[in-house]
């Protein structure tokens, strides 16, 4: 028999709304108390249990188990199953020491005084931004679009074999004679012996970039447009009058997407990294309070 004197909200089988409110209120109060305790004691996230993915917690900072295994492998060339107790202890002690010193470094704010730490921090943040970009794998369609819009970048390096004949400045007539030779008719030995041999700047077949370095910009520009067997007009330079005789000129051939894909992906990622870095820097500047002295503005 139910006790008529018992308050209605206590009855389990009762449907009183007062009990719901009391339980709701009690739950909310308990939650607030827990949150307040965590907030004001600053111990809300502390734990006494080492998570399975870590081997230690140093002031709540984890030492990752996989880093520990890697360190064992690197130092002693053994995996966990084959490491001795002394090896394990040594590696763990080293890692704990490192973590303690890093934490102490943060307390001392070494980044504000040590240029190496500052550089390392800048580098680390840049790497982190880049790593985000790398993880986002572009689709095939995005890569093809990028390839189509940067088509000129993707071509083979051209190659050329040529002779660069140099005549003294006063021998312009001889240079003109050499330049006037018909195609596929290189200067005869007698002609060259009478004047001068090739400069030797380009001897064998060379890539365009190498020929450009060896010949210089001006001669290279003239050489690039010559066809096989073609002879340039006399070009006056500091060493004398140059006449270029092209033996074989293999111009750059555009790659198709398949051949260029590897480079397209790299360039796409580099662009993405560049955009992310610019965006991150803009965000950091926006949220920072930067005051600049009047005299250097």
């Amino acid at each position: 028999m139910p006790d008529p004197t018992e308050p209605l909200w206590i009855k389990v089988t009762g449907g009183g709304s007062r009990r719901s409110f009391v339980l709701l209120g009690g739950g909310a109060l308990l939650g607030l108390l827990m949150a307040g305790y965590s907030l004001f004691t600053a111990r809300g996230t502390s734990t006494l249990i080492v998570p399975p993915e870590d081997v230690a917690l140093i002031n709540q900072q984890p030492i990752s188990r996989s880093d520990y295994l890697l360190q064992l492998q690197t130092l002693y060339g053994v995996d966990l199953g084959h490491a001795t107790a002394a090896q394990r202890r040594k590696v763990l002690d080293d890692m704990i020491r490192e973590e303690l010193f890093v934490q102490r470094g943060r307390e001392l704010d070494v980044a504000s005084t040590d240029p190496d730490v500052r550089a390392a921090m800048v580098n680390a943040v840049e790497l982190e931004i880049a790593a985000d970009a790398i993880t986002q794998q572009p689709t095939e369609a995005q890569l093809r679009l990028y390839f189509a819009s940067h088509r000129a970048r993707y071509a083979s390096e051209g190659t050329m074999s040529l002779r660069d004949y140099v005549f003294p400045p006063r021998e312009s007539a001889a240079a003109a004679e050499a330049a006037g030779l018909p195609r596929f008719s290189p200067p005869t030995r007698a002609f060259l012996e009478r004047w001068h041999a090739a400069s030797g700047k380009v001897v064998d077949e060379e890539f365009y970039f190498a020929a450009k370095i060896h010949l210089g910009d001006r001669l290279f520009e003239a050489a690039r447009d010559l066809v096989d067997g073609g002879v340039s007009a006399p070009i006056t330079g500091a060493e004398g009058i140059h006449v270029l005789y092209m033996i074989k000129n293999k111009k750059p051939v555009p790659f198709d997407f398949v051949a260029a894909r590897d480079r397209v992906l790299t360039d796409y990622r580099n662009d993405a990294i560049g955009h992310l870095r610019t965006g991150d820097e803009a965000f950091l500047r926006k949220r920072a309070n930067i005051l600049i002295a009047e005299d250097v503005r």
């Binding site: 993915e53 990752s64 590897d262």
Partner: protein, 253 residues
């Protein structure tokens, strides 16, 4: 009342599953990763979960079956040829976690194949000099010879000199051309190719324009247990799964 009991039962089941899962993850993480393939209790569960994660994160590049793609320089995960390390679970786990040339500070990024047909073949090492078109042809002939393929023997002899000398190839690929798994330099004497079909043209392309494939770091996107599960699944692709008690029971069912 009945509804409340049903909800309570459901909550208990969910809690039990979560608890079991968390206990399993704990055991998985605390175990020696290289011993897990022989652990009949952990392996099937880890492999199953790893397969699902692999499908979500890795299959887009490596293929659903792990077969890779030589056109894109994506390694085959089903053979026993490992570019980095020896293919142990811990080796694979490190790669999944930190990646290859992923810009993660702990990533594997020691070796980058220089682009010898460019003015500055290596961004990192200014001592590496560009090669001429003839040099590149000779090196390709040398590699073809090392792989037992037909080619120009005179050019191959010149290529051998370059390989062990001015080209500096020996520095990463070792003097015998067998590579160095510590830095991810491939063995050039076998016929397993990462890029292309091993032809003269594809070898020349690799020498001329360089290679530097990337594997992202998943450390920030997957939990430690998930990374290990993926590693175990990838390991299983190239290793005959040991028949465990669970497997046998599953088959008989």
């Amino acid at each position: 009342m009945r509804l409340a009991l049903l909800l309570a039962a459901e909550a208990c089941i969910v809690a039990a599953v979560l608890l079991h899962s968390s206990q399993f993850e704990g055991r998985l993480l605390r175990s020696d990763p290289n011993a897990i393939p022989n652990n009949a209790a952990l392996l099937p569960f880890a492999r199953e979960r790893g397969e699902a994660l692999y499908g979500t994160h890795c299959a887009a590049c490596h293929g659903q079956l792990g077969q890779g793609d030589t056109e894109r320089g994506i390694p085959n995960l089903t053979d026993d040829d490992w570019l980095y390390g020896v293919g142990s679970v811990s080796d694979i786990e490190q790669i999944v976690k930190y990646g290859i040339r992923s810009f993660n500070p702990k990533a594997l990024n020691l070796a980058i194949m220089p682009a010898y047909a460019t003015a500055r073949p290596s961004v990192r090492d200014s001592s590496i000099r560009a090669l001429s078109p003839e040099n590149i042809r000779d090196l390709a002939e040398f590699l073809l010879r090392e792989q037992g393929r037909a080619g120009d023997t005179v050019a191959a002899a010149r290529g051998a000199e370059l390989f062990a000398g001015a080209g500096g190839c020996y520095d990463c690929h070792a003097i015998d051309g067998k590579g160095d798994p510590a830095i991810g330099a491939p063995n050039l004497t076998d016929r397993i190719t990462l890029y292309g079909d091993g032809s003269r043209e594809s070898l020349s392309m690799s020498i001329a324009y360089g290679r530097h494939g990337v594997c992202p770091a998943w450390a920030a996107r997957m939990g430690a247990a998930e990374i290990r599960e993926v590693a175990i699944f990838v390991h299983s692709l190239s290793h005959e799964p040991r028949r465990t008690e669970t497997d046998t029971r599953a088959r008989s069912d």
